[in-house]
Symmetry: C3
Subunit: 215 residues, 3 copies
Amino acid sequence: MKNTFFSRLAPKESKFYPLLDQLSETLVKAADTLVSSLPKSTPEEREETYRKIKDLEHEGDKLSQKILDELSSTFITPFDREDIHDLASSLDDVIDGINSCAERISLYNPRPISNSGRTIGDLIRQGANCLNRAVHELDRFRDKPKTLRECCVELHDIETQADIVYALFIKQLFEEEKDAIEIVKIKDIMETLEETTDAVDHVGKLLANLIVKYA
Amino acid sequence: MKNTFFSRLAPKESKFYPLLDQLSETLVKAADTLVSSLPKSTPEEREETYRKIKDLEHEGDKLSQKILDELSSTFITPFDREDIHDLASSLDDVIDGINSCAERISLYNPRPISNSGRTIGDLIRQGANCLNRAVHELDRFRDKPKTLRECCVELHDIETQADIVYALFIKQLFEEEKDAIEIVKIKDIMETLEETTDAVDHVGKLLANLIVKYA
Amino acid sequence: MKNTFFSRLAPKESKFYPLLDQLSETLVKAADTLVSSLPKSTPEEREETYRKIKDLEHEGDKLSQKILDELSSTFITPFDREDIHDLASSLDDVIDGINSCAERISLYNPRPISNSGRTIGDLIRQGANCLNRAVHELDRFRDKPKTLRECCVELHDIETQADIVYALFIKQLFEEEKDAIEIVKIKDIMETLEETTDAVDHVGKLLANLIVKYA
């Protein structure tokens, strides 16, 4: 983009929606990869998953950097600069969370991931799909905020459910598991899964704030 | 609140003080509940504490969300929008910290909490009371910043003291404790207690910045 | 500084550069102290290192607080207020990271730090030196952004390298180490070292944003 006087003044609204769309699609791919990997338990399969997700994480980094660069060099944006910045960063944080899960599973190579872990994985994927839909609503929610509002409720429910699954599992883990090293591995992985649903909910809160502010 | 042109222009200062007051009172309740629970050591009592504190944490979430919503729909605020936002979020972070402490104690169910753990609990309660007093000063500190300034010093002292108690305890834990699982539990709980005093000090730093900016 | 009407209006650019310089020099000192301490393995030497680095961390805190205070009471700054704030905070975060490494080594007193740990230490020092050079470029990069741009690339490379060293080490640790308590200690210390290179890279990203925005 040439930073001529005119190009800087021209509205750039259209740039942000496709970039945010791409970012949320990268998130969906990362979540899908994570979910389909959780039943796999050989070190090779786990390393392979981590490699794939790390590539998606780099893609996400590039996309959010592109959004930040656009924000820095654009005068007019559809929302406050800060709001788009926060939205892109928080979507990227969910991808980072998924990457951290895959990294830990690959590096620690624990016993097969529990049903509770897989349930939280499913919730992360549900959250990713929901965020993808929410991002698609951004260019029209001012007039019809209903769909976006429903997404925010769903995102919060996801976090609440993950929290319950996590708590039950960790309580049982400390009651029953006697292998300290396995506890270290599983506790860390389950925390990272659960924190990723917190990151999902955090985007939901930013979206809810957009509704209050602009709808 | 109807968003008529006039209501949006009318000063809304008065809304923020009572909401911040309520938030800091919720914090005091959470801290009191934590402190009175630390001597208890049955799983049932610990679960009961966690339930109570989680309710207070939800209350805190709702109050800070209410503050954010007010900020998004109000033109005139007593401070910069960003400053009230940060203050509410950081008070909420202290409540979240207390909630994390109670959650870990309930889920891990470690041996009875050490004297060091109880001391840090007391420091968190002292911090909560101090923050409550500080929030009460917000509508008058521009003329008389002395009380607020003293609060900031006290909040920082609390963090420093907690840090010392934490360091001595952890050093001794790794020298003496031989049960790896117990170490995992206690290390995590003590870290969370200590981090909660960091969160207390963080609010203190925001308040100190308000003095520089507005007093 | 007297807050007379005129002093508040007068350009204060000159104040920020020397303060940021001092902050980045404090960072270099902390990194040097950490690197030279990693081969040492008696509890006394490790405590001594932690004391020295904690002093530097306090120095860093004071400097970044000074920068924040200046920002709050100054009208005209060379960059947006927010950008200087973020830059100072993120430099301070690197010092905090180094402090956390030294604290953990002193409190946990693990076996001698591995070659991988020392390599990440070297990368942190390289990052600190690079950040120091970058901060020196701040008053001239608008015309010649090349040097600053090279710094950002180097800072990102540092993080990538640390990530590889970390991953290989942790994988091997869980394959070979059978002492659960030692795993708890070393895992936590290596994570903290690796996170410190993330903090280094984070400053690099802020600097890259400055180039897009101002050069």
